[in-house]
């Protein structure tokens, strides 16, 4: 059955409308969870507010389980789901730079747009920064291309690398997440802060 658009079960014209609806859900949930506040987001790294950890991992696990169960029931063909390709070197380097951007700027791109939507001026500046950062990358691309393309491993999955089934991998992630949630709550008790 699914995914519906790539299999032409519903027309490609609907794809942008679906994107819009998905975006509304995305923005609404981010804002309701408190991701429009940079101080709440940064709290993750100082232990006073681990909402990022909780929302992020719960969401990833929910979607992971959803995909696996949908596949089990024959509702979705996992071969047609986009799996982002792994380029090890650039993924790590990019992640490190993004991590620095996260702790310095207090947002990530999705949350900054969401925060800008409710009037956070710091978020608007952050979004402006993203524009500039992407522009710098684009202009410097000739210099970076070799590194950007190096270490291509294709769209590989962790479960395949470890030689376990997707289901077992999901269970491991769930157990790891529950342990981290517990640690997060202990941290929140240890370094309590009032809400903003």
């Amino acid at each position: 059955m699914g995914p519906l658009v790539p299999q032409e079960i519903i027309g490609a014209d609907w794809n942008f409308f679906i994107a819009f609806v998905v975006g509304i859900g995305f923005g609404f949930v981010l804002e309701q969870a408190g991701f429009s506040s940079s101080r709440k987001l940064a709290g993750m790294f100082y232990g006073y507010d681990t909402v990022v950890l909780k929302v992020f991992f719960t969401a990833a696990i929910t979607a992971m389980l959803g995909l696996l169960f949908f596949s089990l029931f024959g509702w979705i063909n996992l071969n047609l789901i986009y799996v982002n390709p792994t380029f090890l070197g650039s993924a790590i380097a990019g992640g490190v730079i993004m991590g620095a951007g996260f702790i310095i700027g207090g947002f990530c791109p999705g949350t900054s747009v969401c925060a800008a939507a409710i009037g956070k001026i710091d978020a608007m500046v952050f979004v402006g920064g993203i524009f500039l950062g992407i522009f710098i990358f684009a202009e410097g691309y000739p210099l970076l291309e070799d590194f950007y393309m190096s270490g291509s491993m294709g769209p590989i999955k962790v479960s395949d690398v470890l030689g376990i089934s997707g289901g077992v991998m999901a269970l491991l992630v769930i157990i790891a997440a529950l342990v981290m949630f517990k640690l997060g709550e202990l941290a929140e008790k240890k370094w309590p802060r009032e809400e903003y």
Binding site: V5, N15, I18, F45, V83, I97, I103, G110, C114, V158
Partner: protein, 169 residues
Amino acid sequence: MKTKYMNPYLAGVLLGLVLLMAFFFSGRGLGASGAVKSVVVAAVDVVAPEHAANSGFYSKYVGEGKSPMKAWLVFEMIGVLVGGFLSGAFSGRLKWKVEHFPGITANRRLVFAGIGGILFGFGSQLGRGCTSGSALTGMASLSVAGFVSMMAIFGTAFALAYFLRKNWI
């Protein structure tokens, strides 16, 4: 802890369902920085079309029959703006403000937000996706890239947290 926000685990489940919906309908996950990239590409294409056509980066997205703004992520991010605004209106959080730790000035906060944005924008292109596009979506589809991105982003942020503590606590 009393909070005015949604229970984080419930929010997580809802966010996961939104992501699942994207997978089920469109066969792809969420994203954010890709939409900004589209805007940058479109802007460069308007201002300097020749440069765009000759550059190794922009030329992937512009040219005959290609329109950088007609991208899934662009429409998704317009939705995020709408959704975020609706949520803010719903919960009474619509307000112009520079949110910052009381120990620093608003200007300092803005400067750091700008620097962070530049780094995040650059890193998201190098790493082929940001927290939502690569880490969250990638983890849900069990991709190695997703787990690597997640660990690199959060690991680095934790490692640098000590040096930036004056900004936050």
